[in-house]
Amino acid sequence: MEQRKEKTKKGFWLDPRSKLLIILSMNGLVVTGVENWVLSLIVVFLGVLLMLSKYVRSAVKFMLTFAVLLFIEIIVWHYVTTGPMVYIIVFTGLVKKFIPAIMSAMVFIYTTTVSELASALARMHVPEKMILPILVILRFFPTVQEEWDCIKDAMKMRGIGNGVKSVLSPMRSMEYTLVPLISTSVKTGEELSASALTRGLGAPVKRTNSCQVGFSWPDFLVIAVAAVFFVLITF
């Protein structure tokens, strides 16, 4: 336990709550119109955060994607103003707006351990009834992903599910993928629940957490920047 604490505290570390604030400040993006320079600033800021958390490759990938989209948009905007080309702008506009949302979610998911999140949520006075399902969900996403890959492999092996046929009968391909996905997930879930209960999760006491969370100076910096973005986006 000591070891893990040291590992998380070393280097650049943000409180989960400030990461949540970043995400919330980006929330207005999808519904409101934002000018390109604000959007670019946000993407650069999130890219730096990702880099500081040692996810340089995905940061670069996102920033490059954004730059390419912006470039395409500017080119199309200048040279083509009518006709079906407008739809390209619609598409880039949509994807462009989602990039910051995805990036801020990634900052959160990649750098937050489950116990850190539990501790932070408990200190935000989120009811226990909400915390537990949230933790299960976060623990479960990778499992579902794994099962999904296995199912796709199995389908490939049987020669079903890819190509024109699966597109033409969406109901059947849905059945082929959904049924095994649900069955395996439910089974895994039952095991998870049994193992958690034997470790005393259902005990009627207040739970404590060995993981300490707290704000420090990078948090205040990040919160300040997020506040500026919030103002820029909303007003």
């Binding site: 119109g33 299960v136 479960f140 059945e175």
Partner: protein
């Protein structure tokens, strides 16, 4: 014995698992929404695909608040991943109503469960709402997407589209629920997980 009707850790884990599955199914089926016009009727594929999962979830639900918690958490996650904040509020309300409807049948009745699912599905309209109710939304869109697109969009989406959308959503939720029942009979009851 007193605790029998209260939610316990096991129920919360069940809620978590099913919420996760539903969210994954949702995200996969809503990829169609990348096509601009389709995102108005994105409720159709989503409601149909989520139906079976929801129906299986209902067989595990025996207590009040489980559906509400599921809806609330789904809403929160969707807001975190870039939807507007009011979607979470609408999801919570829809989940609460669905919970009450399902409770009328003591969490046993299939028909009331299906009705609950229809109500719960309605929150999927939430992301489209700003088109009508947020002043200046179309102007913003004009800036970012071009006047022509907005013209096309607003002729496609007059205010009477709202009731149409509601009806379409309810119908696709019904299809999803019926599909869920069929799948349950065919697969889940037989393999012993329902």
């Amino acid at each position: 014995m007193k605790n029998k009707n209260r939610i316990q850790a096991k129920d919360l884990i069940t809620v978590g698992i099913f919420t996760a599955i539903m969210m994954v199914v949702r995200i996969i089926s809503s990829f169609l929404g990348v096509i601009p016009i389709v995102n108005a009727i994105i409720t159709v594929p989503v409601c149909i695909a989520v139906g079976p999962v929801y129906m299986l979830f209902l067989t595990k639900v025996k207590k009040m608040w489980m559906i509400t918690i599921m809806a609330g958490i789904t809403g929160i996650f969707m807001s975190v991943f870039g939807w507007a904040w009011f979607c979470a509020a609408i999801a919570l309300v829809c989940g609460l109503i669905a919970d009450f409807i399902t409770k009328l049948g003591n969490y046993q009745s299939y028909k009331l469960g299906l009705a609950g699912y229809c109500v719960y599905s309605l929150w999927w309209i939430a992301p489209v709402l700003p088109v009508w109710f947020q002043p200046g939304f179309l102007d913003n869109m004009r800036e970012s997407m071009g006047a022509e697109f907005v013209q096309a969009y607003s002729t496609l989406m007059p205010i009477w589209m709202l009731p149409v959308l509601i009806v379409v959503t309810i119908i696709s939720a019904l299809i999803g629920g019926l599909l869920g029942k069929r799948m349950m009979k065919k697969h889940f009851v037989r393999s012993g997980i329902a």
